[in-house]
Symmetry: C2
Subunit: 318 residues, 2 copies
């Protein structure tokens, strides 16, 4: 357990600087931290610098960054050097248990005894990563959403060796650094948000292969109704509010059997070759030759606009 | 098939003016239509007027309404009178096949021969409503999301007696009236968006009863990551973009088996008494005594703010 208060951490090390790691680097720089970055790829120092420069205007618009240009940071070759005086480590190495283990072997003895080591893994169980470590309890998952400098959520979960108060410390650390952390009580494949995402997409796949609507219109059913509402109220609160003043209790008592039959009628598609071909063809039709980079750029601009509007609105009302 | 162009419709009749019907009335008034409203409840004329007055500021903020106070409209007692010179009818009677059939019996002979009759039903098949009608082909579903004057989506679907070009006409009519219509190619229980909504909520229920996180944190996983992103890009496009420049094809080829195992690992909860109790208790804890009306009011304000920001952003870029 770190003796330092989670709000007082100044020195953050980014281990692995692909898209996720570079996004974390940009975010922690914007939060005013002293950031050290390391990545073994030959060209990574240049790529990280370019990434941070490209991300910066969005961080300024969002209000995370208070200065117009990115501050200095350290890029070092040796991961052991990178973590030597770190007060918090965010690891975003490739999603491979062996690669991560080799990296952990290299850095663990250089890591200060109290430093929390958080992995961005989306799919590896933290208990598997803790196996064989000197201080397994310091290892937690801090799973961001892409891009980590825009999307607020971080899922925090400990493994079987992580004390609960250490998970709480990590939650407090992310909260103090302008993220929205949630604490997961147990390790499950996909954590939580990706499971929810897969549940929606599975039904969207079912609708596409059943020919209920075009893939463009299936996406519009989300962007033009569900998504914009889910940006404001989550799925449980949505059901509660739909129940009127009687809320969740009223909904379940009066519509319970109906809801159950809806649950049971949902699709469970298999991704056969034919289904995959259908999805690829339908997607190509939906994007009608629009350029990949142009769609990503538009998505990120619109996402920043909505996040900015939402945080201003919430700020005014608090 | 109406001879009138869908963009030239002026006279719209609202049959049934509960929450949904009153919302439609406010929306069509804001669009500058001549609106006639009818509802059999004793106090409905007053309630509709109050509803429209309460909804108006949001319609002004959204830019749908161009005037500061609601224009005049007609409220009539007799539904046959209400539809007599209608160029479009939006029916939002209670969700009950018999109640709707009795209403259709009363109005059908008064309805001009060419007028499209659209029902807001969320759960009744349009083919069942077409049974026994004089001109069954004119009946379509135009299913809105609550509140219909805020959420853009309308799901349009015809029954076995509806000609396809009549569905297209209805889609064009809603589009000309500041809604985002999508065309469904077949009738299925729950149409499309509510099925997608149920798919997400089912996994959210599974996460709650498995104790993965608190219900408040499960909701936050949506509002702080998935929802705000789904307000910008739908579920299919999200997967396509996650695949990098290789898009959907790349994702399915490289992650297909993994995705399938994720699909198969999703929960399929049963709403037993114990599960229902768990959800009610968890929900009460999540809202911590917050007042129902206050939550609804906050949701609608934030929804208007986000919709307004999004439409301004899109408007600037088009």
């Amino acid at each position: 357990m770190p003796s330092i208060d989670p709000t007082s951490v100044q020195r953050v090390t980014i281990l692995g600087a692909g898209t996720i790691g570079s996004g974390w680097a940009a975010h922690f720089l914007a939060c005013g931290k002293e950031v050290t970055v390391t990545d073994p790829a030959p060209d990574s120092a240049r790529r990280v610098a370019e990434f941070i420069k490209a991300a910066w205007p969005a961080l300024v618009r969002l209000g995370t960054a208070k200065v117009d240009t990115p501050p200095e940071y350290r890029f070092v070759e040796d991961p052991a050097d990178a973590v030597r005086d770190a007060q918090f480590v965010q690891e975003s190495a490739p999603e491979n248990l062996e690669i991560k283990r080799v990296l952990y072997d290299r850095v663990e003895s250089a890591l200060p005894a109290e430093t929390i080591f958080s992995t961005s893994t989306s799919g590896i169980l933290i208990s598997d990563l803790q196996e064989g470590r000197i201080h397994p309890g310091r290892f937690v998952v801090g799973h961001p959403f892409n891009p980590p400098y825009l999307v607020p959520l971080v899922e925090v979960v400990g493994g079987k060796h992580t004390p609960s108060d250490l998970v709480d410390w990590t939650v407090d650390f992310y909260r103090a650094n302008q993220k929205y952390p949630i604490k997961l009580n147990k390790e499950v494949p996909g954590h939580l948000a990706n499971r929810l995402q897969m549940a929606l997409w599975r039904e969207a796949v079912h609708a596409a292969i059943e020919g209920i609507a075009s893939m463009e219109d299936i996406d519009a059913a989300v962007t033009e109704a569900l998504g914009i509402r889910w940006a404001v109220v989550g799925p449980h609160l949505t059901v509660h509010l739909a129940g009127g003043p009687g809320g969740m209790h009223h909904q379940l008592e009066h519509l319970g059997p109906g809801i159950q039959s809806w649950f049971d009628d949902l699709g469970a598609p298999n991704l056969t070759e034919k289904v995959k071909q259908h999805l690829v063809t339908g997607m190509n039709k939906a994007i009608e030759g629009r350029n990949y980079d142009a769609i990503v750029e538009q998505r990120d601009r619109e996402l920043v606009d909505l996040l900015r509007e939402r945080s201003q609105v919430k700020g005014q009302r608090e």
